[in-house]
């Protein structure tokens, strides 16, 4: 037996490994093809956003929230705006709420395209990634019409939004969501989601039970993939999400165990359809006239106090703990992100999996590095 004894080997993965979604580093302890442990090493993208917040004004922090998660920046804008508005008691005009929901849900769709697109790319399927990015290009055009930027959108303002809908946006947007819901998703599923090779790569890999997910503070699609129907848009409604009719997709263990990588992959596709439904309803009910922003004083201050507000970001719960001391800049802002908690669980669930499966696990949890490091 000793003739075939194996030895543990320490391997370095990243920070520039293509499958690590930004600059992440893993220190892998492997025994042959089996993983003993994968220890994440983070901090390569730490920009000190929380420290910056203490040095800029309340409104001046808004562009920095884009950089928390640059794949879904409108959702981050929205989370910060909601937190400050609730602490300061700022009212938001009706029309601005609808515009926020439209932009945020478009952003969620685009983020999920990157999420599952990059997972498929990591697994070696280049074609579906290009298909997903092709659709994301339409989103980029739409959001460019709306706010002029294609990546860091900075669309939401405290008390409203930056711009009204430009002419022709509603029609283009409606055509886009119709195309997604009725054509693209079906085509994409036929192309890859029900592909046997993909199912074999993802099913029963990296199974997370509902209890483990709760222990490791997992949120968002990753938690719902474990069978927990908890969505902040419904359970702790913010903005005007309580007015829309949509479902919460949960993992079902379709091809394997409940809470495996396939569930985490497929739930994102199902969420795209739900976001399309929300956008269509918002476009239908969007008021034609009205203010898009509450007028705030030039020197905007927030009354002293503390608040914790969490919103549903594409990568899980985005929480802002905001402390104000009544001055013109925040006293302390803590940003709690979905990717941060998704990263903590990787060390736990990567024990005893194949090295190649680690890539599937990281991809299916949909982590992005800037959100972890902030």
């Amino acid at each position: 037996m000793s003739k075939y004894s194996t030895q543990e080997m320490v391997l370095n993965m990243g920070p520039h490994h293509p499958s690590t979604h930004g600059v992440l580093r893993f220190i892998l302890q492997t025994d042959g093809e089996m993983m003993v442990k994968a220890t994440p090493d983070i901090g390569f993208l730490h920009r000190g956003i929380e420290k910056i917040a203490e040095r800029v004004t309340w409104q001046g922090f808004m562009p920095y929230t884009d950089r928390i998660d640059y794949v879904a920046s409108v959702n981050c804008n929205l989370g910060y705006a909601v937190a400050v508005e609730r602490l300061a008691g700022v009212a938001v005009p009706e029309k601005a709420e609808y515009l926020r929901v439209i932009a945020a849900e478009l952003s969620r769709i685009a983020s999920h395209f990157i999420g599952f697109g990059a997972l498929l790319l990591d697994l070696g399927a280049v074609t579906p990634f290009v298909h997903a990015l092709r659709e994301r290009e339409t989103f980029n055009d739409l959001i460019e019409m709306l706010c002029g930027a294609r990546l860091t959108h900075n669309y939401v303002r405290i008390g409203g939004v930056a711009q009204d809908l430009p002419p022709g946006f509603a029609e283009k947007c409606r055509a886009f969501v119709d195309h997604l819901e009725y054509e693209f998703v079906e085509e994409f599923n036929e192309l890859i989601s029900f592909n046997t090779i993909l199912i074999n790569r993802l099913a029963n890999v990296g199974v997370i039970s509902a209890e483990t997910a709760n222990d490791y503070t997992l949120t968002g699609p990753n938690l719902r993939a474990s069978g927990v129907a908890f969505d902040l848009r419904k359970d702790e409604s913010y903005s005007i999400y309580d007015r829309f009719d949509f479902d919460i997709p949960v993992g079902r263990g379709k091809y394997g165990t409940l809470g495996d990588s396939y569930d985490r992959y497929f739930i994102r596709i199902e969420e795209v359809v739900q976001s399309c439904r929300i956008i269509r309803q918002a476009l239908d009910r969007l008021p034609q006239d009205g203010e898009i922003r509450t007028k705030l004083p030039k020197l905007f201050t927030v009354p002293a106090g503390e608040i914790y507000v969490r919103t549903e970001c594409p990568r899980g719960e985005l929480g802002f703990y905001v402390i104000s001391d009544g001055k013109k800049n925040p006293f302390r802002i803590k940003i709690r992100t979905g990717s941060f908690s998704s990263m903590t669980i990787i060390e736990h669930i990567s024990q005893g999996v194949m090295v190649a499966d680690l890539v599937a696990i990281i991809g299916s949890l949909d982590v992005v590095a800037p959100e972890i490091d902030r």
Binding site: L87, T217, D235, I307, Y308
Partner: protein, 193 residues
Amino acid sequence: MAQEKLQNLISAKLGASVRSMEAMKNNDLMVVLDLKDFIASLGTLKNDPALGFSTLMNHLGVDYGDRMAVIYNLYSQVHRAKITVRVFLDRKQPEIPSLERAFPGIGWYERETFDLLGIRFTGHSNMKRLLLPEDWEGYPLRKDYVYPTSYNGIETAREDLLDCGLSNAECGVSETIEHITTLNPKSAIRNPK
């Protein structure tokens, strides 16, 4: 009201270890706990079936200037309510027991708090810096943090980065600097040599 009921329930279950309680905005309840029975109180909040605060949403540390605090945001599926637990710490030697046993996912949160605020969590399995390099000096989110001028010999001030030993004309930057200084005469960038 639901929150008053919860307030009474918490004070009945935790007794004297609750220092104060107040309603926060956003349907939240702030519970200030005593450091002495902290672990036992958190255990009650988490494991008591009547309370059921078993989901950790968020953890952070704060430097209030005169004292420090750690804050835990907990959520209960039983009450569908969230509470904010705050424990004040001595600023000279901020130390608190780690909650890793109760909430396995808190490990990195506590490391981040240690990294940025220097609050030490006793009993933590890996109390090392998380985001900053291991050899970083000081704790940036403290209110008395002094900004370093250099890190491992690398200057952090921008004007020095432009100084490469050559004259600006040789480097070809003089035109750019001239342009910037006409736009903003008070610009921090030095005038060309």
